[in-house]
């Protein structure tokens, strides 16, 4: 074990535990599962320390572990289905109305997880596109496109709300 690096990870994990918990919670939506994600992410971090090339990437590296761990857990509990963009487009058009009377929080939660991730990371965690791309293992353009689509899906409801449709 690289002791210096392990020390850095330890400090980082302790300092940022609340952020990590919130990130995990935003996926799994309950305390018990969010704690499990935090716990498991720490185990994974130390067992895969060697994949962290430089401490500069510590944050994105750890976020990536949390996001993946959370999705793993949801895969089991909620049966997350990964949808390709075309399917999603149809899905989106035809189902928008069903969400119109639910609040924005619900709408966000109902976004497919790939779309929800970019919203959380960009707007709630204030990360750069490059960092998000690193965390989600996608290229920057994909992240931008996805964020644009996510907002569109969210905005549709916002507009409708403004216009008093719900």
């Amino acid at each position: 074990m690289d002791v210096g690096l392990a020390k850095q990870i330890t400090d980082y994990v302790i300092e940022n535990k609340e952020m990590h918990y919130r990130l995990a919670f935003s996926y799994v939506k309950n305390t018990e599962d969010a704690l499990e994600v935090v716990q498991e992410s720490i185990y994974k971090a130390f067992s895969t320390m060697s994949t962290l090339k430089t401490p500069d990437y510590l944050k994105t590296w750890f976020y990536r572990i949390i996001v993946n761990t959370a999705i793993d857990l949801m895969r089991k509990k909620k049966k997350v289905i990964v949808v390709d963009d075309e399917t999603l487009a149809q899905y989106n058009l035809s189902t928008v109305d069903h969400y119109a009377d639910i609040d924005l929080q619900k709408t966000l939660e109902n976004l497919p997880v790939r779309y929800r991730s970019v919203v959380i990371l960009r707007f709630f965690e204030d990360l750069k596109f490059e960092e998000i791309a690193e965390i989600l293992d996608e290229n920057v353009n994909t992240v931008k496109t996805r964020l644009y689509k996510s907002l569109k899906m969210l905005r549709i409801q916002m507009n409708e709300e403004k216009e008093g449709l719900c």
């Binding site: 935090v38 716990q39 185990y43 709630f124």
Partner: protein, 299 residues
């Protein structure tokens, strides 16, 4: 930023932090082997904990023969052969609001080979006691902060009990918000009164690779049948840079089941995400037949 989005962001920022978070993080760090890097030493805390616990809690340690509570339990205890028995020798319990521990220490009786019997029983008692002490220490630590939930449940189960084999598994479930589970097995040859180790079953060390390959195949097969069966193994698409299962250790946890099959066991988190819990794999005997010392145990 859009005001609605701003509102969502605020909601996100206000996700309440549970009291257990500190503890879960520290525990995970400890279990990852970096506990010594924390600046604070636990030594002092332990001492204080020991003193106050002694005063505040009733520790129930009940001898098997002394307590009528065990009368019912006793009749259900599997009688191993005619003489060899497994009993609950001692129980450590704490039940105080959000803190709960239940630790049952098994004892094997009736082996002619007293050295074996004593060494196993001593091991069980020592581990039970250690578990209880660390629970006490954890509990005190948690109390000094804001409190929280903490539980440990430890006991044993008889996996196999026939003329030849006694396999006893001792499990420990730690609950701190989420939980971790560990199981350790001991397998005894009752006829010859010896403890069976994994290496002792085989002619040479090739079993490590043969069994590992089989397990990897089983993992992938299980995943193909149902993608909920997720393992950290090559052949299943992984999301992150997780360390993949490569091979079992020479002393991997195992038992021999009623059908005489070798079963390899992994603790929670060892080879799969937490939701998979403790996982085990029965190894087909035909792939082992060339390297087994004999078919006396594994059939």
């Amino acid at each position: 930023m859009d005001s609605k989005l701003e509102k969502l962001k605020n909601e996100y920022r206000n996700i309440p932090i549970p009291k257990e978070l500190d503890f879960v993080v520290n525990k995970a760090l400890q279990e990852s082997g970096v506990k010594n890097m924390n600046k604070k030493s636990n030594f002092k805390k332990m001492k204080i904990a020991a003193a106050s616990v002694a005063a505040a809690f009733v520790v129930m340690t009940a001898g098997v023969n002394a307590s009528p509570v065990f009368a019912g339990t006793l009749s259900k205890v599997p009688v191993v052969g005619s003489l060899v028995k497994v009993l609950t020798f001692r129980e450590y319990n704490i039940d105080e609001g959000t803190y709960n521990s239940n630790i049952k220490v098994p004892e094997i009786q009736g082996l002619e080979n007293k050295a074996l019997e004593n060494s196993l029983n001593e091991k069980y008692l020592k581990e039970g006691k250690k578990l209880y002490e660390s629970f006490e220490a954890d509990m005190e630590e948690l109390k000094k902060k804001d409190g929280g939930h903490l539980g440990v449940d430890s006991g044993y189960e008889i996996k196999t009990d026939n003329d030849q084999i006694l396999s006893i598994g001792r499990y420990t479930v730690n609950t701190v918000g989420s939980s971790s589970t560990k199981i350790k097995y001991d397998t005894i040859d009752k006829k010859n009164e010896v403890l069976i180790t994994l290496p002792s079953l085989f002619k040479d060390e090739s079993y490590v690779d043969i069994i590992s390959e089989n397990i990897k195949n089983q993992m992938v097969e299980q995943y193909k049948a149902d993608s909920d069966n997720f393992y950290w193994v090559a052949g299943i698409e992984q999301d992150g840079g997780i360390e993949l299962f490569n091979k079992i250790s020479e002393e991997q946890n195992f038992y021999i089941n009623q059908e005489g099959k070798l079963v390899i066991s992994f603790d929670k988190y060892e080879v799969a995400p937490g939701y998979m819990g403790v996982v085990e794999f029965a190894i087909p005997t035909d792939i082992l037949s060339d390297i087994l010392v004999s078919n006396e145990y594994v059939k």
